[in-house]
Assembly symmetry: C3
Homo-oligomer: 155 residues x 3
């Protein structure tokens, strides 16, 4: 075995909660939505369980990434631009030259992820933040679904 | 804060449901399985919760992508072929020249995702569809697990 | 419709379980954690539901990949190195030349996934294993959260 497994904690599923989050992006770049996710988990009265986030678009995406040095976001953007260059001969051009690269970037990063909730708090690592990446050049209004399934935090 | 959080809706978890979906692919390309996912959620009598889809293979994958212009799929395929060219000197060649590129494409797109279910319906965005991407050249029979956790829809 | 949907099985959600898994990596490469995941699901007394795994780091990641030929891991590593070469002019260099490529590799592969649990067992495909990929050159201690939501296995 490669790893050490802790004791297992057991809880009863009591809650399924849902909210919508609207994010106004400023064009290509990262929006930190960690604070909104934490606020949702807190307002849910979540105890132990799983937090889910889903983005209802195909030219933006969700990632867990480094939250300390903004240079990391610059380099992540460079890497995504290399995988999906704006000046390649894409067939799908009707929505502008930034649209098809945006779909490719959304495909490799994804629109659906979960984060554990332990003892009423999002169990992110020390250096982890939750980000929406806007891949289009122009600002967009983006809609996300936030959900929690698990136990209720004791009052 | 980057975004506006709606009111939080609360439900009781009542259901864990599971089904198997078999998809016969026609070789490299996209199979739209949005209809199957919707039918599962409907037949589950799902109310509010989370839909999960999982693909039990390593040379095909799952994505949420644009559902309007078929040219998008052409370009997504081009981008994946560039990340994992068939003519590179891969070490793993025993299953044919299309096999190792298929594993790479499956790695960057993934085999596991969730979609929210709200008020008995999959909460996909207007332009989102759920796709299985076959990365092998030949047709394959692919097995998926569909699941729902959440509340039961009122009769 | 592209696929054949089986009958739907219904269960009651009874458990939310959580454990921590610590993995000591040996530097860049794959650690097979399938055994630990199976042991967790077994010790949970999980019946029917969903297993979740989450990695609390931004320079390592999680994938479901081929479990038979080790050459596949060699080629997956080659493909990731091509997407995020160590010798590119990255802006973020303070943590060493292997750090920024590690963040890029973590972004395209992800730190959050689920696997179905059916009849008390992880429903992996025949050729699927669950791997932690270390993207840093040096060995690291990595922390994961394992969770299960679903029904309890009958005694």
């Amino acid at each position: 075995m490669a790893g050490q497994l802790s004791a297992i904690l057991n809880f009863a599923p009591e809650l399924v909660t849902t909210a919508t989050l609207i994010v106004d992006t400023k064009g290509q770049g990262f929006s930190d939505i960690t604070g909104e996710a934490k606020r949702f988990v807190d307002e849910c009265k979540a105890g132990e369980g799983v937090f889910f986030v889903y983005l209802r678009h195909t030219s933006a995406s969700l990632v867990i990434q480094e939250n300390a040095d903004p240079d990391v976001q610059t380099d992540l953007t460079t890497a995504l631009n290399k995988m999906a260059p704006a000046n390649a001969p894409w067939v799908h051009k009707v929505e502008g030259p930034d649209d098809m690269p945006a779909h490719i970037k959304a495909m490799v990063t994804g629109v659906s992820l979960h984060i554990p909730v332990n003892n009423g708090e999002l169990s992110l690592g020390t250096w982890q933040g939750l980000y929406l990446i806007e891949h289009r050049t122009a600002p967009h209004k983006r809609e996300l679904m936030l959900q929690f399934i698990g136990s209720r935090r004791p009052d």
